[in-house]
Each structure stands twice: as C-alpha cells, then as structure tokens.
Amino acid sequence: MITLEKRPEPSKLWTAITPLLAVVATMIAGGIMFAILGKDPLVAIRTIFWDPLFHEQFASFSRPQLLVKAAPLILIATGLAMGFRAGVWNIGAEGQYIMGAICGAAVGLAFYPTESFIIFPLMIIAGALGGFLWAMIPGILKVKFHTNEILVSLLLVYVAEFILASMALGTLRNPDGNGFPGSRNLKEYPSAFNADLIPNTGLHWGVVAAIVAVIFAYVLFSKHMMGFHIRLAGQAPKAARFGGVEPARLILFCLGTSGALAGLAGMFEVSGPAGQISIDFNVGYGFTAIIVAFLGRLNPIGILLAGLLMALTYIGGELASFMLGVPTAAIQAFQGMLLFFLLAVDVLTSYRIKFAKREAA
C-alpha cells in the first residue's frame, strides 16, 4: 500500500528536479502519441527538441525564432507568476495581450506617416496601458464585488478577440489595403517598427523587456516587501491579513502588473514579428504562458528557462509539421501534457511516498 506523508516543508531538491522529471515524462508520453500518429517517435522528439538548435540547415533560421517566441512567453509568465503566488488567478492574459497590441498599434498608426523617435516609446506606454486596463476589469470587479477573477478574466479573452476582429476589419484597417482585412504593416513604418537590435538574431525590444522583467521580478520576490507580501498571501492568507497585507491592493497590483506585461508582449509582437493587426493575430501565447509559469515553478529564473523550452516546442513543432507531417495540434496537446505531468510529479515536493502496510483507519 502506497501512502503519502506530508513533508514539514516543501523539499528544495524536489522543487528543482520535478520540472525535469515532467519534461522527460512528457517526452515519453509524447513519443507514444507520435507513434500512434504513425511517426517514428525518436525522430519526432529529435526534430522538436534538437534540430531547431543544431540542424545544419534549419538552425540558422530557427535560432533567432527561439528568442522571438520566448520573449512574449517569458514576459507574460513573469507577470502571471506573481499573481499565481498570491492566489490571484489571472488566466485572461491572452485578452490583455490582444488589447496591448491593439492600443500599441493604434498609437503608432495614429502618427502615420510622421517619423519621430518618440513614437515607439509612446507605443510601448500605450501597449502596457492597454493590457493594464483590460486586467483592471477583473481586478476592480474582484475588489469591489468579489467577482471571481478566473471567470471574468477568461471571458474577457473572447471579448478581446471580437474587438480584435472589429479593429482588423474596421477601425484600424489599412486604407490602402484594397479592402483586405488587417492594418498597415508596421514593418514598413520605421518609427513604429520593432526591428532586431542586432540584425537576424531575433533580439528585438521585447526580448530586452523580458529580461528586464525577469530581473525586476527576481528582485521583487527576494528583496522587496511587496514580494514578501505576495508570497505570504499565497501561503497563509490569514497570517497575511494580520500582518497588515491589504488584499485589495495586492489583487490590483498582481492583476495590473501581469496585465501590463501581457500588453507589452502584445505590443512588441504586433510592432515586430507580426507586423500588423490581423484577425488571427493572437496565437495562444497568453495560455501557453500559464504552462511556462508553472514549469518555471513561479520563479523568475525558472520562467526564463521554461520560456525558452516552450519556445523550442513551438519552433520544433513547426519543423516537425513541415518535415514529418506531424499536425501542429499535436504540439498543443504535447504542451498540455507537460503541464499535467508537472502537476502530477509536484506531489513529490510536498509529500513523501511511503510504502507501508495498510492500517485500520
């Protein structure tokens, strides 16, 4: 009979090992999935995890993509992790990402075709503000009316998607686009274009912002009172309240910060890699970032690594669909599986497994 015995406190060793264990388990389960799809599992796993970085033909293209894909994931996940630690569940980052992109692009397009160095910084502010305000809706409703932030933030994703469609088809549509949906391409507008800082490396301003966010979050959690309050509220809500933590302030801070970061991610994406507001602009970074946050153990440094790994599965997935005909949906299932395994092996950090004889209850 296997029983679980609660550890006095979570094991540090297992906290570090479990993500790796989950990745290995996912590779095995994913291999089985690929085998069922009729693909050679070893080749599929190699194509996803190895070839994007080291294949002589593709690596030169996919290595920069790694940064392009990892930046929004890390940026969003860093914000989400703050909330998750405090027990504030913002799962609508996808919506905040969209709103950030719309606001950022709208500011840029409003100045078209003026050229000025001030435009891009203004777009950054607008992007962050857009995401911030969108996240404030569940925040304020939670604080004022105790409305469940999980449901509100998630439902607002669908609302944001409709706003995106309306913008791409109407308000922000390219007037010179012959009636095709989608805004002007910001890549052709130097003042608003988020170009690679070093050409062909994928290193755009979003990557810089992601690194800055990770450093800030690290300092916040380890040195700052707010970080301590966040951790306290998550682990012992009652103690936190006696300790003078204002729950309302904490909720607004967590939602606002994560919203602003998601908005920034959307803005850097629309002004750089995507280039324009289009109906299918969002590709689910806001949801994948939830997996990244957990895979990184809600720890900024962990999120940095998890973001890179998850970006790798995106690029490897594209490669596998191109090379082996693996459907792209398989990668989504693969990512979902990773989160399952992660949550499953997580039990080892706070419980010890004991093999004991069954006792009378």
């Binding site: 009316f145 449901l151 949906a329």
Partner: protein, 314 residues
Amino acid sequence: MDLSAISPTLLIASLMVAATPILLAALGEMVVEKSGVLNLGVEGMMITGAICGFAIAVETGSPVVGFIAAAVGGAVLSLIFGILTQYLLSNQVATGLALTLFGLGLSSLMGQSYVGIRPPAIDKLNLGPLADIPFFGPVLFNHDLMVYLTLALCVGIWTVLKFTRAGLILRAVGENHDAAHALGYKVVKVRLMAIMFGGACAGLGGAYLSLIRVPQWTEGMTAGAGWIALAIVVFASWRPLRVLLGAYLFGGVTVLQLNLQAAGLAIPVEYLSMSPYLITIAVLVIMSAPRKGGKARASLAAPACLGRAFHASN
C-alpha cells in the same frame, strides 16, 4: 433593419436548443462543485466530447452511439483531472486549466480528418398532435430527444440532491470533507464519481454542439461555452433549477443577438457577438456583490470545501 422578421415563437424554440449544451455542462459541473471540487476543465471536456461524439457518429452512422462515445470521452478525460487532484493532490485550479489546454489540443488533433463533414442527421422527436398546438407546439414539443433528456436530467439531479441519501453524502463531502471522512464516507471515491459524472455531462454538451446545434466539426468550436457553464453554476448558487434558468437566459441572449445580426441591426456584428460574454460577466457581478450588511448570495451558497484538497492525514 427589420425587427418584425424576428418571430418570438422561433426565438423561444431556438433558445431551448441554444441553451442545451451549456445546460448539460453546467449541470455536470454543479454536481462536481457540490462534492467540493472545482474543475475548470469544462471547456476541454466539452470540446473533447464534441469531437469524440462527432467522429463516432460519423463512423458508425448512429448519433446515439456518438453521444455515448462523447460521454465516455468526457468522463475519461475528467478522470485524468480526478487522479491528479484526488490522489496526487495537485492544485485544482491549475489542473483544470491544464485539462482545458490539453483538451483543446487533443480535440483538434483528433478532428483533423473530420473537418467539413456533415454528421448523420438527428430527427426531431415526433410528439404527434402536441406539436400542432399553436405557439406551445413549436416552442415546447418540436425538439430532438436530447433537449428533453437534458431537462429530465436537471429534475433528476435536483431530486437526487434534495431527497436521497446519495445526494446527502455528496453534499456532506462538499461541505465538510473532514467530517464526512470521520463518518466513514469515502471522500475521494465520491469525488471521483462526481468528477466523472461532470466529465460525461460536459462531453454530452459538446457533442450536442457538434452533432445537433451547429452541426459540424471545427477547431475550438465550443468558443468559451465551458467557461460560461462555469459562470452559470455561480449564477445559480449551486441549485439545479436555477442552472436551468441561467442556461436559458444565456441561450436567450445568444439567440437574440444572432437574430439581431440577421435583421441587420446598426451595431457591428462583432459587438453583438461579444454580448453573451459581457452579460455573463454582468450577471456574475450581480450575484457576487455583497448585499447590505451581509455576505454575497454566491459566497453563502458555495460548498464550504470547494477547491480544497483532501488528504486523510490533515
């Protein structure tokens, strides 16, 4: 714009069809939450049920077998959630999200060869002369069997929860799992059964979308229906008959905005399409807001152990 083109009879009749998938999912989730478990994976289970039901109905040519497959598919998927949260004590919010993300990926993987196919048609139930009654005939007596089965399920759940021992045990487990455990009830087993029931209901709801309401398979076709079902459970204060009311209210809004789109209202289509989500949020706010000098309706009615992990050592 021509509002006179909207017929109230047809509106109410299609409202019942529009509400059925959400009603099924919400009823299942309500039972799960009554047992003290918060499963946020409704969307994932619904869409998995949608493709399971669709694929099997197409392959066998039988919608009935399709619906059974959808229920099984939803239940199997929910079992992953059950094992993780009940045996491995994982965080319910995170696991539910994982279930949704995984379900969305899995379903589009399974559904690749089913895009653009029409499922076998499902006849409306022939209720003879009843369907000929003016107004009430088309509104109430001219639907497929699933609409009536769903209504029966609603009444059934209400009866079981209110009048039977099984219902009492389920509620006890949800209100105070330590006390229920001390009384000798198998908390984990009860919860697993509730979770699988919820999964089966969500699967049926999804299959209703793909087999009857739409009827077609497209990726991500549930479009937030699972989340709205979750919101309706809160709106209903965990009561089966109010779940019915909530689902019909939501169905009504959906059908009305579709009709307004068709009638060419001066509001852009996108803004009409987002109205069901906005109204769901508004209703959530009303239900969650604290009343004068007291607690909110919703927080009073919520099962006391909702979302809390149970481990016999605690």
